[in-house]
Amino acid sequence: MTTEQTFGFAPASTDAITDALVSFLTQRLKTEVAPDQELFKSGLVSSMFAMELVVHLEASYDIAIIGPELKLDNFRTIRAMTSLVERLREVEGLGAEGTGEDG
């Protein structure tokens, strides 16, 4: 998996992904959520919502979050999720491994 590549095609803006996540979480959790706020440690995210979040990200950004990508570290904060989305979009966009086997 690539972690440090630059975008080879028109990227979705990082801010747009972060903003969308801030508004999704704020709306669903009924409280202001900041991009760097710890979501799991604070007990803000219920077990149900953790899975909803994964499915929401997959559906919204046309990505598959599976295997090692499901590590807690990728979901600790909105910023962490934003970089996960960007990384996976890049992988999908390049048609690299990891796609096409979960349909």
Binding site: K30, M48, G67, E69, K71, D102
Partner: protein
């Protein structure tokens, strides 16, 4: 009925036949039959074709699960366990693990998933099973209870604590330090192979840890349980269908006071309630499967709703059916008697009715500002 998986429906019907009563009385399923169904991909029909599975949609697998549940809830429980194991591996495993284990799970190897512990039932966050890294290996210590299907399983997917998060490990049942002790005389799903599992210093290569571990425990068990809830929900639809059919046939034929039972109004009401139960639980499961197949975030709540509604209907329908059949259904092994014992357990596993209600209450609160 579903158009999908028609030959798998036929295959289950043919292999199961009229044996569920004997299996219930013996408290055991024939292992050869489980391996045969497993090798045909039927026990975890949603595994994508690229991994050797049938690639079924949730909707079609749901109808297959209901059909199995209408015949035998013990066999359906095995299907649920194998399906949860496959789904957990598909979701959390890395490329190599998905290839390897999903191929095994669709070629006759049987799997069970170990969640509950003596001190962690409804509150799975109290899990104590510990998975420790030790060089290129990991070591597991813990105790699991009521692991469905563990008695027959070749592979146990064990959930436990790992660092400050959690992990799921694929543990061969014959690995040194694993002890599987069947639950003696379970009240329902008597042949489903429920067992207590002890893990004492079980050492395995780190490659057995799905996705390298380090997931949030809540995400791990909610993901795994969501598949289980779908499967149990559809299995309960099957119980309700078996009840409806048994009660309606009996009420049509059996005469008392000079007319068929069905013409006694209080019995007729029971029949209407069974029909309502069958329709309501089918619809709520179809909705959940549609959410699942569409990849909608609503699937998480829809699965809880489907499980709660269907399990409640199954338990009430089974009690009603025993009432309608009376002495004709009151011997162990009979479809009504099995439904009565099996359905009650469905209100307990994969999130008790009370836990489902709490989760649904949270959902209710989330809909208002």
């Amino acid at each position: 009925m579903a158009e999908g998986l028609a030959s798998e429906h036929a295959r289950i019907g043919e292999l199961v036949g009229d044996q569920p009563a004997e299996w219930d009385l013996a408290g055991e399923l024939p292992e050869g039959l489980l391996r045969k169904l497993g090798a045909e991909g039927i026990l975890c029909a949603q595994v994508p074709a690229v991994f050797g599975g049938l690639g079924a949609r949730s909707q079609d697998n749901g109808e297959l699960t209901a059909y199995t549940g209408s015949l035998c809830s013990s066999l359906r429980s095995i299907m649920t366990s194998q399906g949860i194991a496959a789904w957990t591996i598909q979701r959390f495993g890395d490329r190599e693990q998905r290839r390897r284990y999903l191929a095994e799970l669709t070629s006759g190897q049987l799997a069970a998933v170990a969640f509950s512990e003596p001190e962690a039932g409804s509150d799975l966050s109290a899990m104590r099973t510990l998975i420790r890294p030790a060089g290129d290996s990991i070591v597991i210590d813990g105790q699991k209870v009521w692991t469905t299907g563990a008695r027959y399983a070749d592979l146990l997917v064990v959930l436990g604590r790992y660092g400050d998060g959690a992990a799921a490990v694929v543990v061969p049942a014959e690995a040194p330090g694993v002890r599987v002790e069947p639950v003696t005389d379970p009240m329902g799903c008597r042949a489903a192979g429920h067992s207590h599992v002890r893990l004492d210093g079980v050492r395995l290569p780190a490659s057995h840890v799905l996705g390298g571990g380090g997931q949030a425990l809540s995400l791990l068990f909610t993901t795994a349980l969501s598949y289980g809830r779908m499967s149990v929900a559809w299995g309960c639809v099957g119980i309700v269908r078996a009840c409806l059919s048994a009660a309606a046939s009996h009420a049509k034929r059996r005469e008392q006071s000079g007319k068929p039972l069905a013409q006694h109004q209080l019995v007729a009401r029971h029949l209407s309630e069974l029909l309502i139960a069958e329709q309501v639980s089918t619809r709520v499961c179809e909705h959940a499967s549609r959410c699942w197949d569409a990849g909608s975030a609503d699937m998480v709540t829809a699965a809880v709703l489907a499980k709660h509604v269907s399990a409640g209907h199954a338990a009430r329908s089974a009690a009603t059916t025993v009432q309608v059949l009376a002495s004709a259904g009151a011997t162990d092994g009979h479809v009504a008697a099995r439904a009565y014992r099996d359905a009650k357990l469905m209100e307990i596993i994969e999130g008790s009715s009370e836990i489902c209600q709490l989760l649904l209450a949270e959902q209710a609160l989330a809909t208002v500002p």
